[in-house]
């Protein structure tokens, strides 16, 4: 028993030393699944910039966009797994999207490294609509108004559908590309309400927009009184995170070194990257190691049930 503990302690310290010692074998290719210039792309590039300054590693960012992160997943899957290729996606990419695409990819083909920030996903409308909570929306819809519900991914469209179903109303679900497009659509009056993942923070603070409901398992940070999905009768949630991934089988030292370094930048609000994470998402949400493995696996599993519920 003693021997075993010693071995464990040794391997643990060896592991820690390894993570600290690890250096990338060459420049790191950083694939980004988001359009250039957007908030997510900026976050990825700023993290890379800060790591170059802190660690002396070299990053070469590259856009691999489309299909909710699945194009990036397909591209990174067969790349070298020595830590010299990583990519930034959202947890939804390896969860709902991979499940729904059913194209032969599974989360086991990837190494989840670390999450940086969690979405403050909310149902948002213009405050000039006069709605104060989701109940007002339901009332308006029952009163005969045809309401347009903007979403930015198939998963969110499913959730919008289930929200309607649970409350006995029928939304016209309008799916657009990217959270920015939902906000523009709501602002322009093309949509009545929509999902926004954090970009609404400024508008809500200014009083132009209002958070009607939280699409998360927890209340929103900005509007804690808004009902959650469970309060509204929907058993599924839109919890999601920005996540760095690599190809499957990445050595533990590389994975640990990368996740520690990225997490340190994301959590440090004095860095540019940490600053924008604080502003849009209220602070970093770091999940790594076995916790992250479990999260990715459970997301993939849960996606099956959501797909089934939304197709009934």
């Amino acid at each position: 028993m003693k021997k075993l503990l010693l071995a464990a302690a040794l391997s643990l310290s060896a592991f820690a030393a390894n993570a600290a010692d690890w250096t990338p074998p060459g420049p790191i290719k950083l694939m980004i699944a988001f359009a250039a210039g957007g908030g997510a792309d900026t976050q990825a590039r700023l993290i890379a910039e800060e790591l170059e300054a802190r660690m002396g590693w070299q990053f070469i960012p590259e856009q691999v966009t489309g299909k909710g992160g699945l194009n990036l997943a397909a591209a990174i899957k067969d790349m070298p797994n020595d830590g010299s290729v990583i990519g930034m996606v959202v947890t939804e990419s390896l969860g709902y999207n991979m499940r729904a695409a059913d194209a032969g990819m599974t989360p086991e083909q990837f190494t989840p490294i670390v999450t940086t920030a969690g979405f403050q996903m909310a149902v948002v409308s213009l405050s000039s609509k006069g709605w104060n909570s989701f109940a007002d929306v339901v009332e308006a819809a029952k009163g005969g108004a045809d309401l347009r519900f903007g979403t930015m991914s198939p998963k969110l469209s499913d959730l919008a559908y289930l929200l309607g179903e649970a409350n006995g109303v029928d939304f016209n679900i309008v799916q657009v590309r990217g959270g920015r497009a939902v906000m523009d659509g709501v602002n322009a009056g093309d949509m009545d309400l929509g999902f926004m993942a954090g970009i609404q923070a400024k508008g809500v603070a200014a009083g132009d927009l209002v958070n009607l409901a939280s699409a998360l398992s927890e209340p929103l940070q900005q509007t804690p009184d808004a009902p959650t999905m469970a309060d509204l009768g929907v058993e599924f949630v839109a919890d999601g995170y920005f996540m760095f991934i690599g190809p499957a089988g990445m050595p533990e030292d590389a994975r640990a070194a990368l996740s520690d370094a990225i997490a340190a930048v994301a959590e440090d609000e004095s860095t540019k990257a940490g600053g924008i994470i604080k502003k849009a998402f209220g602070g970093a949400s770091v999940i790594k190691g076995a916790d992250l493995d479990a999260l990715v696996a459970s997301d993939y599993e849960a996606a099956g049930a959501l797909l089934k519920a939304a197709s009934e």
């Binding site: 074998p25 060459g26 290719k29 070299q58 070469i60 070298p80 499913d158 679900i173 939304a310």
Partner: protein, 184 residues
């Protein structure tokens, strides 16, 4: 004797056949959803609709060429000379980019350090080898082809252009990669 030009007729025919092939074969076999789909109990537009409309544009344009523009006065055509030129040019480009892709890895394997080329893809001078070899081949080759002779001047111009491009794209920027270094 005055011959009626046929270029528009042939072009129209090719476009029409192409359009039918897209709408009848490519689109149905290579998209997941049909023209219209029922999703979440609502009818919505499927992925096949837009490309089918594109095919309709091509086909309708072809039909117009065959019918109303068939006897137009001005009917430029692709001659055999043009075709030969473009085939030769593409062949040259294939050679150029193969040279560009493999010169670096080959040089590293033969005379370079232990690391594979992938690790050295952003390390001078290895990262420039492929680009320089392919680039000089392209510029010098084209100049020589047009001048119908090989000259030292053409080689020097090729080198000059390559050096200028390295100076513009590579030296000032840390995170840009010259071809082929993003693929290795």
């Amino acid at each position: 004797m005055h011959r009626t030009p046929r270029a528009n007729l042939y072009l129209g025919l090719v476009c029409l056949v192409f359009a039918v092939a897209i709408a009848g074969l490519w689109v149905p076999f290579d998209t997941d959803s049909g023209l219209l789909e029922t999703v979440r109990r609502r009818v919505s537009i499927g992925d096949a609709l837009a490309p089918t409309i594109a095919a309709f544009f091509i086909g309708f344009g072809g039909l117009l060429l065959m019918v109303s523009d068939r006897n137009a006065n001005d009917q430029p055509a692709l001659s055999a000379v043009h075709l030969r030129f473009i085939v030769a040019l593409v062949a040259l480009l294939v050679v150029v980019f193969s040279v560009m892709r493999w010169t670096g890895p080959l040089a590293v394997a033969l005379v370079g350090p232990e690391e594979p080329y992938r690790i050295l893809r952003d390390t001078a001078p290895w990262k420039w080898l492929g680009f320089a070899a392919g680039g000089v081949l392209l510029v010098t080759g084209l100049i020589a082809a047009i001048e119908r002779r090989m000259s030292l001047r053409a080689v020097l111009i090729g080198l000059g252009v390559v050096l200028a491009l390295i100076a513009v794209f590579d030296l000032p920027f840390d995170d840009l990669l010259l071809p082929p270094n993003g693929d290795v």
